[in-house]
């Protein structure tokens, strides 16, 4: 109870996240309280409780004091759903209604329900720790002063760079945390990626190797800094897909060339989206873009195997030559399974299988389906 303080207006604007009526605040396990009935309002920084009988009697519980919280559902014997909040030691100079308490916890009792929603938003607000950024109040001024004290000279600069890195890193990690967060931070990410790439361009040679590596790793996770987006090509789908096809060619050409001249469509999809990092493409768009490969004179092309599996492959590696190459490898190994072929060609097993089936279709190899698995031999029947 001694963590509660009397209400004072916040310096920054507060946004109301959630409100619940008929809420009582109880200390620890006690069944009695002076704050039996009131309205609890949740903001990003704190909970404000206003007494129902005397609206000017308002209490505040700041989020920075919260260590953990748990929700107790309404049971047969209790009056309502509860949120039990575990709190840190009270701050010195706290002005509140109660000055001493033997408990480390507070109970918020929701007599008329609403605890589920409140709990979710409360938990979220506490996790975000927005008060650390926005408040310049008494709570953080102490630590800020001490960090300023040390932030002088080269050490200070280094320290600031490290802090910036840390922040950037957190932003990236957070962004990939889940889609909703990604959407929230997308704008931030674009400007971030641009500023990073500009920094690298501007200070080429001047920055240390470690920094370059760090920047590069960020760029790698961010991928293409200036992605082709559908909104920039309003109306003309085909032009959009052709641009996209060009982007796919740029991103994948080297990879495909080094890995057996072929890449299954799902892998294309993953790679292009990984490279973009944001402004993700839908599977349909990727497929249409791959179809557009043939229209832009790209060294890559889309190929459909007889089984329906779609791949993007080098134009130079047209089917005839891959079939011949497959036969060559099979002949060299005397007999080959899809796995063995995948190993010796450096392609995925699915692709190796497709190649074997294509070569079989062409009558160059024949199958041996036994308990040892599906093996392929050079087709001696046709000789």
């Amino acid at each position: 109870m001694n963590r509660l303080s009397w209400y004072t207006p916040c310096e920054s604007t507060e946004e109301l996240l959630c409100q619940a009526g008929h809420v009582g605040i109880y200390d620890g396990d006690l069944k009695q309280t002076q704050f039996e009935q009131g309205t609890a309002s949740l903001t990003m920084q704190r909970i404000i409780w206003a007494d129902s009988s005397d609206p000017d009697r308002r209490l505040v519980l700041h989020h920075s004091l919260v260590i953990s919280m748990e929700k107790h559902h309404k049971s047969m014997f209790s009056k309502g759903g509860k949120i039990v909040v575990k709190l840190e030691k009270p701050r010195a100079g706290n002005v509140g209604p109660v000055n001493a308490s033997q408990y480390e916890t507070l109970r918020l009792v929701f007599r008329h329900g609403g605890e589920d929603d409140f709990f979710k938003k409360y938990d979220d607000a506490v996790r975000r720790k927005t008060w650390q950024r926005s408040s310049s109040g008494s709570s953080s001024s102490g630590s800020r002063a001490s960090s300023n004290l040390r932030s002088v000279g080269i050490f200070g600069i280094e320290r600031r760079i490290a802090e910036n890195h840390q922040k950037t890193h957190e932003t990236i990690t957070q962004a990939f945390d889940d889609m909703s967060k990604l959407m929230e931070t997308a704008r931030e990410m674009v400007s971030l990626s641009k500023s990073i790439s500009e920094k690298v361009r501007a200070r080429k040679g001047e920055i240390s190797e470690d920094e370059t590596i760090a920047f590069k790793s960020y760029l790698l996770s961010l991928g293409v800094s200036d992605p082709v987006t559908k909104s920039t090509f309003v109306g003309s789908d085909s032009e959009y897909f052709q641009k996209l096809a060009k982007e796919i060619t740029n991103v994948l050409y080297e990879h495909i060339k080094e890995n057996g001249g072929m890449c299954a469509l799902p892998e294309v999809y993953c790679r292009i989206n990984r490279a973009r990092g944001m402004e993700l493409l839908s599977p349909e768009d990727v497929m249409h873009a791959c179809e557009a490969l043939s229209r832009i004179n790209s060294p890559l092309e889309l190929h459909r195997f007889a089984s329906g599996v779609l791949v993007v492959q080098l134009k130079s590696a047209s089917m005839d030559s891959t079939v011949a190459q497959t036969l060559e490898v099979v002949a060299k190994l005397e007999r080959a399974s899809a796995n063995q072929l995948a190993e010796s060609l450096g392609v995925t097993v699915i692709l190796a299988r497709e190649r074997l089936l294509a070569a079989e279709e062409a009558g160059l190899i024949c199958r041996d389906d036994s308990i040892e698995g599906l093996l392929f031999y050079p087709n001696r029947f046709m000789q």
């Binding site: 079989e360 024949c366 041996d368 036994s370 031999y377 001696r380 029947f381 046709m382």
Partner: protein, 177 residues
């Protein structure tokens, strides 16, 4: 004394025991199987076979390679042989079949040639004499199965070169004309 059967190279080629997916390859494979089945039957003087028996015989099982043709595979080959009129199922359940490593009309001319050479024309002969008699010990149709013999003789009868006698009776016979 019989010489050991000479297996074709395909018999030692593992893919032989998997029915091929590619049509052109499958054609070649079935052709090879058909020849093997006929050659094997001829070499071992097999006139008819039981499917269950055939499936487990060395013909469809290469123990050295540890490969065997599946029941489906055996059926595919038998269907192919049937289409080529090289075998004929003897019952509607398709469990037994005759193997014609020589077509009944080929048997017919063999038997007729033998009868002409040995001056048996216009002489009644029992069926037993033809397939198990001392006179035919060196002939290829010695030990020929009765049903195939009957087919051959029916053939000759249609060509008016033979007349069947007392079929179904005690002393079944034939008279070559």
């Amino acid at each position: 004394m019989m010489t050991a059967f000479k297996w074709p190279w395909q018999y030692d080629f593992p893919p032989f025991f998997t029915i091929q997916k590619s049509l052109a390859t499958k054609d070649k494979q079935l052709e090879a199987w058909a020849r093997l089945v006929i050659d094997y039957a001829q070499h071992n003087k097999i006139y008819s076979l039981d499917i269950a028996e055939a499936t487990t015989s060395e013909l469809f099982n290469n123990q050295k390679l540890n490969r065997r043709l599946s029941t489906d595979g055996v059926n595919t080959i038998l269907t192919y042989l049937e289409q080529k009129k090289l075998i004929e199922f003897t019952d509607s359940g398709r469990t037994r079949f005759h193997i014609f490593w020589r077509r009944p009309d080929a048997w017919a001319s063999k038997i007729y040639d033998w009868a002409v050479e040995n001056a048996f024309l216009n002489t009644p002969l029992t069926l037993y004499e033809i397939t198990h008699g001392d006179d035919t010990a060196n002939q290829s149709f010695h030990n020929l199965e009765r049903e195939i013999l009957m087919k051959a003789l029916t053939c000759l009868e249609e060509q008016r070169r033979a007349q069947l006698l007392n079929i179904g009776g005690e002393n079944e016979g034939v008279k070559f004309l």
